[in-house]
């Protein structure tokens, strides 16, 4: 019985070990602490998201879990196994069970899609056929195209194809949709959805809150190398204590802007976040807060230049936790 089979039997017979468990991860580079004490447990079959701005430590964290970066301190267990040194048999056996897409990998320009998949396929003992995996990522029509000729979305799907070719139990995706147009993003989400439908576990990093909300069962919000919140998306949003966000901006000149305290006192308003060009209110009841806001501005003789309301998102959670926007943090 191979180590891989043994591992799977073990996983099937007893109480499943978590797909990933890490405690106290710390990774310092010369001038910065990239990862500053992270504990995570990812259950088998779940899709777990690491959400945070650039530089939050997402990539370092995921690469530690992938066994590509050695943490300064802390312990990592992936599919019930620990990373050893170099090319040990245990490491290789674990690698057989993982699918990994790295953030910055550029596949060889002048190989075709098919040749690239066949190359990655050759590294694994068990694998999808080239046809199967191209069907999974909907690249059948591009099989003879050189990588350099692919669009950004197609390249990214090819990268995911190379991660899926080993029929992994656990898929690591590092910013899989960064820089893609909305349609390509949606196509990739479908690929991830199909993988999950077959029972696969996913750990992905992203700085798109929409992506995290859409795909992930649970999300860890990271900032400055730390996890600052961890829960399911609905619960994270609920932690704001309000379901809606009202944002407004005033035209220059006329009247005087209301004080934050006045705004906070309006009915249905839970909190006030002024920023340079706008003010955001988290609100429990839009239908009470907005008329009250209007009346207040009327009294102040202030003129609105912008008013929007939306359901609270992970973005709002991030802003309320850090005081910064996710996009430009």
């Amino acid at each position: 019985m191979s180590a891989v089979e043994a591992g799977r039997l073990h996983a099937a017979s007893s109480r499943p070990v978590p797909a990933v468990r890490c405690t106290g991860l710390v990774k310092r580079y010369a001038d910065v602490v990239a990862v500053d004490g992270i504990d995570l447990t990812i259950e088998t079959g779940e899709c777990f998201g690491l959400l945070g701005p650039n530089g939050a430590g997402k990539t370092t964290t995921i690469e530690i879990l992938e066994g590509l970066t050695v943490p300064d301190t802390g312990s990592v267990e992936v599919l019930g196994m620990r990373w050893g040194k170099g090319e040990g048999a245990a490491n290789q056996a674990l690698r057989e069970r993982l699918g990994i897409q790295l953030q910055e990998t550029q596949l060889a320009d002048k190989l075709t899609v098919e040749e690239t998949v066949r190359l990655f396929r050759s590294f694994y003992r068990k694998s999808h056929t080239v046809e199967e995996v191209l069907a999974l990522v909907e690249l059948e029509e591009k099989r003879k195209a050189w990588v350099v000729k692919l669009s950004g979305g197609q390249k990214q799907r090819l990268a995911v194809a190379c991660a899926l070719v080993s029929r992994p139990e656990l898929l690591f995706l590092d910013e899989p949709t960064t820089g893609l147009d909305p349609q390509s993003r949606r196509q990739l989400w479908e690929v991830i959805g199909r993988f999950r439908a077959q029972g696969g576990t996913v750990l992905l990093t992203t700085h798109y809150m929409e992506e995290a909300e859409r795909l992930c069962d649970r999300v860890a919000i990271m900032d400055h190398g730390k996890v600052i919140a961890l829960d399911s998306t609905p619960r994270l949003i609920a932690s704001l204590g309000a379901e809606h966000v009202v944002e407004f901006a005033l035209a220059g000149g006329a009247g005087s802007a209301p004080e934050a305290a006045e705004l906070a006192a309006l009915p249905g308003v839970r909190s006030v976040r002024p920023s340079i060009d706008r003010t955001a209110l988290t609100v429990t009841e839009v239908h009470r807060a907005v008329p009250a806001l209007m009346a207040l501005l009327e009294r102040r003789n202030a003129e609105l230049s912008m008013l929007t309301t939306h359901h609270a998102t992970l973005e709002d959670v991030f802003v309320s936790l850090t005081g910064r926007q996710l996009r430009d943090a």
Binding site: L111, L119, S122
Partner: protein, 343 residues
């Protein structure tokens, strides 16, 4: 078999290479172009006639006639204001200033000037009645393999083995590293030995094409043959190719950028281009640096290739240079493996 990682990696190497037209040119085309150009420029035409100028003054036309009759000289009258410039630029090998005494004006550091002086003096003295005291006769011999092109082709072959070993491997490895492809491979169960071996394998496969193209061309155009055994040639080229593959691996083992590796490669190759006797014999360098020159892998490889191609030497007599070539390969490969940056 086809899905063995070593096969797939080697195929990938080869595809990446032959789908790059520039690479094809630099590996296969360039040495042939170089051989052609140098072969034409330095083809043996018999010694050229040396140009001698006679400064305009009374009695110059008689001197021009006498000098021009000499088979090794061609003479013409020159104006005083041009004479200096022509002498400096090398268009004139020698300037003869009529008068008593006759003056030969020339640069003694230039070989053809000294030759022209001898020829001119001989012609002039003879015309004024000098006779030979000893009788001599010439026996002219042109040994096969003594032409410049015969010397050049083995050198070009060696240089090409060095270039494609270093560029071919160094460049691809560093490119894979900068594109994070190396790191991506490290995230699979791929064996590192397979990755490295794929470079060696694809090098060896291309080697045959490379060597055959250059030797075939040299034979077809210039009639340069291989006097020794083809087996010995095969052994030496494979050994040389492996050795430079090791050096390429070493150069690429740490570099993170293409710029860095290009600089390193030039640092390694440039001295050997000049010192290792590719285009001219390294015997011209001072004795002090001869031991250093002879210890270079390209010098040893060129020596071995020339010995087999020109003199038909057998492998057993080439122990020393082949040991140097092998030694460089083994040492650089070992060090490369130790310090290789796998991400």
């Amino acid at each position: 078999m086809r899905d063995h990682p070593l096969v797939q990696l080697t195929l990938a190497r080869m595809r990446e290479f032959y789908r790059e037209p520039e690479a094809i040119f630099w590996v296969f085309g360039f040495p042939i172009v170089l051989a052609f150009a140098l072969g034409i420029a330095f083809r043996n035409r018999g010694p050229e006639e040396l140009r001698v100028g006679v400064l305009r003054s009374s009695g110059d036309s008689e001197l021009v006639q006498i000098l021009d009759r000499s088979p090794m000289l061609t003479a013409a009258r020159v104006e005083p204001d041009e004479a200096r410039a022509q002498l400096r630029s090398g268009r004139l090998a020698l300037l003869v200033v009529p008068g008593d005494p006759l003056v030969y004006r020339y640069d003694p550091t230039r070989e053809e000037s000294r030759l022209a002086r001898l020829g001119a003096d001989e012609a002039l003295q003879r015309s004024r009645g000098r006779t030979d005291v000893a009788s001599v006769s010439d026996e002219k011999v042109t040994e096969p393999g003594s032409r410049y092109i015969d010397f050049l082709i083995p050198g070009l072959l060696g240089m090409n083995l060095m270039g494609s070993g270093l560029w071919g491997i160094g460049f691809s490895v560093v490119q894979a590293r900068t594109k994070k492809l190396l790191k991506r491979f490290m995230a699979t169960p791929m064996k590192r030995s397979h990755y490295l071996s794929s470079f060696i394998l694809s090098r060896l496969l291309f080697l045959f094409v490379e060597v055959a193209a250059l030797l075939g061309f040299a034979r077809w155009v210039f009639g340069v043959g291989v006097h020794g055994s083809l087996g010995a040639m095969a052994f030496i080229t494979v050994l040389g190719s492996l050795s430079f593959a090791g050096l390429g691996m070493l150069v690429a083992s740490r570099a993170r950028t293409i710029e860095a590796v290009s600089g390193l490669m030039n640092l390694v190759m440039l001295p050997m281009w000049i010192l290792s006797g590719t285009f001219f014999s390294y015997a011209r360098f001072p004795d002090v640096i001869q031991p250093f020159v002879k210890a270079l892998p390209l010098t040893a490889l060129n020596d071995a290739l020339r010995a087999v191609m020109i003199d038909g030497t057998s492998l057993t007599q080439l122990g020393a240079p082949l040991a140097i070539v092998a030694g460089w390969g083994i040492v650089s490969f070992t060090v490369a493996l130790k310090i290789f940056r796998w991400r």
